[in-house]
Structure formats: C-alpha cells, structure tokens
C-alpha cells in the first residue's frame, strides 16, 4: 500500500524535526500539531485523496438530503408505469414496481453510508482493542487468537457473512454486527503488528519502570503511537465494508426491501437484463462502483501520507 500512486513531493518538509518551529519567535506548537498540519497539507495536495473526497462528499450529500433532492418518492409504487425506459419524466426510467430509479439511486446512498461506517467503526474499535492486547501480551492468548483468526480468514468474507446472516436472520442491525465481527480480526492483525514494533521502544519500558498500570501503557502510551495505522486501516476497511455489504444485499441477505439499497435493486432486477431492461440495474451498479472507488481513492491518499 505504501508506495502506491501519487508521488509526494514535500515528504522532506514533513520529516523535519519540530526544532525549527521552536526557533521562531511565535509560541512553539507541539510536535503532534506540526505533524498533523503537515499531514493535512500533504493530503490536500494528493490528487487521489481530493478525487475520492469529492466523490464521497457527493454521496454523503445524497444520503443526508436524498429525499429533498430526489424528484419522486423512492418508495412510491405505480404498477401502471412499471419498467419504463429512461425519458424526460423519469431520467433513469422506472423499475418493476414503477418506482423512479433516479430517486432510488439518490436515496439509496443513505443506508449504505450509515451501515458501512458504523460497522467499520465498531470493527476498528474491537480490532484495535484486540490488537493492543494480543500484541502487548503475546504468549498463549496471542497464539490462540491468532489461530482463530486464521480459521476465520480461511473462508472468504462473503461466505462468513452469509453464514452468520443465515444463522441470525437478515436485518440491518445484524449486518452491522456481522461485518464488524468479520472485520475485527483483520484489523486486530494490523494493529498487533504495529504494537509489536512499538513495545520495543524505550518509552514503553520507561512507563513500565514507572510502574504504570497496564491499561495506561496500552491506551495512554502505545495507542496514540499506532493511531496512524489504525486510521489507515479504518479507511481501507470502509471500502471493503461497502463492498461486502453491497454484495450481501445483492445476495438478499443484507439490507431488506423495500429499502432503496443499490445492491438490493440490482438483485431484484438483474434477471431482466437479457430482456433488455438495463436501466434498473446499470444505474445502481454505477452508484456502487463510484462510491467504492471514491472511498478507496480516499484511503489510498491517506495511507500514502501516514505510511511513509
């Protein structure tokens, strides 16, 4: 992930020690602040980051103001107008129940943009906790958890999601929890690797010698130093979460009807493609594609800045 894409010209300035800032007459900003500002500047110069941010912002606006922007009610069925081709009255045409596809595509951003970030946030929290503990203690706990993680990762994520949703029954809340649980081990593994590096440093040994309590060492000392990888992992996983949730919706085990979810719309209409009814499938497909690409460009920009 590290050396991917955008060449970052000003990497030298970011790496400079904050000593220079202290030498100026103004009150010296803390080291963390300087690094944060440099990173932000680098991000704003990254074309992939900006492109991703613009796409994501577009869909966030659709998610928040969808019902105001949409020309029609996305849930209003009208069998008389079923499967009309795109025209001036319905720019993206209508689906099998006569619902306006454009409105459903716009409002469809809402569910996925609530479910995916919530699931990813939950997974990041649990994964970070797990990674901190296993990376710090190592030994038996680490080995056991590592084996269980291996076992889960031996099966494709979609299958694990499918199995859990069959066992628990599909609902939006279940999807959030299932995605969170499935992604937790992956995030834990990344955080664990970062913690393994951090725990060798003197500041950890110093904290231990000061007789600090372990929770303080974990959350007060190590956690702030692994926040970079955690943030990168969050944005990368967000892309995967959208990918996986869309796929589960497409399989009928994700967000349930009549929600105007994109994956669900494709699921309900893909059988009609060969009959020539392409519009209820193509537009939600484009929506999913643009959202995942946007999120991944954003993630790529962030990882370039944080993983140098």
């Amino acid at each position: 992930m590290s050396s991917f894409g955008e060449p970052i010209g000003s990497s030298v300035t970011a790496a400079e020690p904050p000593a220079q800032a202290e030498s100026t007459l103004e009150p010296a900003p803390s080291e963390a602040k300087v690094i944060r500002r440099e990173r932000l500047a680098l991000l704003l110069r990254s074309k992939t980051f900006i492109a991703g941010a613009v796409i994501l912002a577009f869909w966030i606006v659709c998610a928040i103001f969808g019902y105001l922007i949409a020309p029609d009610d996305p849930l209003l069925t009208n069998p008389v107008k079923a499967l009309q081709a795109p025209s001036s009255s319905h720019l993206f045409g209508t689906d099998t129940l006569g619902r306006d596809v454009l409105s459903r595509v716009i409002v469809g951003a809402r569910d996925i943009l609530i479910v995916a970030p919530l699931a990813t946030l939950l997974a990041t929290a649990m994964g970070t906790l797990l990674g901190l503990v296993t990376g710090y203690y190592r030994g038996f706990v680490d080995d056991t958890l590592g084996r269980i993680i291996d076992a889960i990762l031996a099966v494709p994520v979609v299958i694990v999601g499918l199995l859990s949703l069959v066992a628990l029954g599909p609902s939006t809340v279940t999807v959030i929890f299932v995605i969170a649980v499935v992604f937790t081990p992956v995030i834990a593994r990344t955080v664990r690797a970062a913690v393994l590096t951090e725990r060798q440093y003197e500041y950890v040994a110093a904290a231990r010698l000061r007789n600090e309590r372990t929770p303080y060492i974990l959350f007060g000392e190590i956690l702030p130093n692994v926040m970079g990888p955690v943030l990168v992992e969050f944005t990368v996983r967000l892309g995967y979460a959208i990918f996986t949730i869309a796929t589960l919706s497409f399989l009928g085990f994700g967000i349930q009807p009549p929600a105007p979810d994109w994956g669900l719309q494709i699921f309900q209409h893909y059988g009609l493609i060969s009959g020539g009814y392409w519009w209820p499938v193509l537009f939600p497909a484009l929506a999913i594609a643009s959202l995942v690409i946007g999120v991944n460009l954003l993630a790529d920009g962030i990882s370039q800045v944080f993983e140098r």
Binding site: R147, A154, L162, V166, A246, L251, I266, Y270, L282
Partner: protein, 317 residues
C-alpha cells in the same frame, strides 16, 4: 525443510479443526429444531420426532459434531436435508466447475497483472504507472457482481458477442465451454488485476533498488538483460506466492458471480444451501472451501521457500 513442512502442515490442521468447530457450532445457533423447519408448522409432533431421529438431530450437539467429523474421515460428508442426496454428489461436481472458472481466470489475469505491475514499476511516478496503479486499484474495489452486470450489459446485451450465462449447453465442446466462461472469468480479471499488479509493482521497484541491480548495471549489462535476469527473477517470486493465496477466494468466494451467470459452482451451492437452510451441505461446503484455501497457502509457502533459500533456512531454525 521437513521440519518446516511438518510445522506448516500441523498449523494448517489445527486451523482446519478450529474452522470445523466454528462452522458447526455457528450453524447451531439457529433456534428451533431441524425437522420442524423441514416439515413445517402443521406436521404432527411424532412425525417431527421421527425425522429428527432419522437425521440424528435429536442427539446432543457434541455427538452430532463427532458424527459429522468421523463421517468426513470415512469419506462421508453427510446427506443433504433439501435434496436427500449425498453431500459429496452435490459438492464435488460444483468444486470442479469452480476450479474450471478459477483456472481460466488465473490463466488470463496472472500474466496480465504481472506485465502491468512491471510496466508500472519501470515507469514509476509517470503517467503509465499512475494509469495502471490507480486504474487497477479502482477496478479491484468494485464488487464482482457489479462487474458481472456491467459486462453482461456491454458484451451480451449491447454487442451480442458473448452469452450472458456461464453454463454451456450439455455436450458442447471445449471451446464452446470456454466461450461461456469468458465473461465470468473477465469479471475476476478485473477484480484481481489491480491486486496482482500492485504486488508485482512493489516487488519490481524493490529489486530495481537493490545492490545487485546496481552492480549489474555498473558492470555494463544492457538494461533489458538487467531487467530480465536480475530484476524480474527476484521480484516475481513473492508475487506468485501471494497470488496463490487468492485461490480460496476464487474457489469459494464467487457466490455473486455464479448467481448472476447462473453457474453451478461451489459458491452457488453455498448460496442455495444457505437460503434453504440445508446445514449438512453448508457445513461441508464451507469446510471444503477452507481446505482449498489452506492447501493453496501451504503450496504457496512451499514453493516460495523452495525458491528462496533465505526463507527456507530461517524458518527451519
């Protein structure tokens, strides 16, 4: 070397056993008894009891787990609740279908991905690199069913070049079968290209930077020879090893593609078993997907260590 293999094999078996436990007890969370689900709410209790007894679902969970596992060791994967046929007769033909699709996809995408990655690395930072890298990344992140419907729209509906299903009519020859598999394989190419290209690019850049490359250049070898003999040989090793780990996804993770193209692979079997709550099929199919993944990673590790003496000795120590 033997110790390395034994260690890997042992870890693989432990992982597999854990997977079997997770899968088995995971599917037991479901409330209600199996026979009642099959027979419906209007069946008499005695009929439900009889079926439960016949299926073995009246025994304790641990006994059921033991029956399942010992059955597998005797080559008996169980009986499908939905079709009443043996699970092996459902799972293994599907596995073969999946393998065919995976092999075709691999044949197309591995050379293409490596070529793309090497090209990108040789043009690092320039337009060609950016195009391959960002394009590949974007293509990889789009869910495969989105690629599937997009490709069907373009190649089957609008251009009329290729069939929109993946299953060739029975009795069709090799090339016609391949023709039917082109579109689903193409979806996989899009999904995997960026991933493989990224690996190949990283590996190539690393070995372009290495001292032996500088030495080769300084001693006056032509650029082409340096790239071919010194750079590529070292850079492609990790790429190929990592690519092999994708086999698990290719064999078991293609539920959505197989659904769109109506292809009877293992993904389709898993999906149908999931919707019908056919747990014997579901459990064994998931376990087989796990076996495929673990065997593929094991082989990848072995190939990698055979070709890379540094790793071999390090692991044996």
């Amino acid at each position: 070397m033997t110790r390395f293999i034994a260690k890997r094999l042992g870890l693989g078996l432990i992982t597999l056993w854990l997977l079997s436990v997770l899968v088995f007890f995971g599917t037991q969370i479901l409330p209600g008894d199996v026979a009642r689900r099959i027979l419906g709410p209007f069946a008499t209790q005695s009929a439900v009891n009889a079926l439960n007894h016949q299926l073995g679902t009246d025994k304790s969970v641990f006994v059921q787990y033991w029956d399942w596992i010992s059955g597998i060791f005797h080559g008996n994967l169980g009986t499908s609740v939905a079709t009443r046929t043996s699970v092996s007769s459902i799972v293994f033909p599907a596995l073969w279908h999946s393998a065919k699709l995976a092999i075709l996809a691999f044949i197309i995408v591995v050379p293409l991905g490596i070529l793309g990655g090497v090209l990108a690395a040789l043009n690092e930072g320039r337009f060609r690199d950016r195009f391959i890298s960002v394009g590949g990344l974007s293509a990889t992140t789009v869910p495969e069913f989105v690629w599937a419907v997009a490709l069907i729209l373009v190649f089957a509906l609008w251009l009329g070049l290729l069939p929109s299903t993946a299953t060739a009519p029975p009795g069709s020859g090799f090339f016609s079968q391949v023709e039917y598999l082109v579109l689903p394989a193409l979806c996989l190419v899009f999904v995997l290209f960026g991933y493989i290209a990224r690996m190949a690019r990283a590996g190539t850049i690393e070995s372009l930077d290495a001292d032996y490359t500088r030495t080769a250049v300084i001693k006056g070898l032509p650029y082409r020879t340096v790239v071919r003999r010194h750079v590529l040989r070292n850079s492609l090793l990790p790429t190929i090893a990592v690519v092999a780990t994708q086999a698990g996804y290719l064999i078991g993770g293609l539920v959505a593609i197989e659904l769109v193209f109506n292809y009877q692979g293992i993904g389709q079997v898993l999906y149908r078993a999931a919707t019908q709550k056919d747990f014997p099929v579901l459990q064994s199919a998931v376990l087989i997907v796990g076996v495929v993944y673990l065997v593929a990673t094991l082989l990848a590790d072995l190939a990698y260590s055979l070709l890379n003496p540094r790793l071999r000795f390090e692991s044996a120590a």
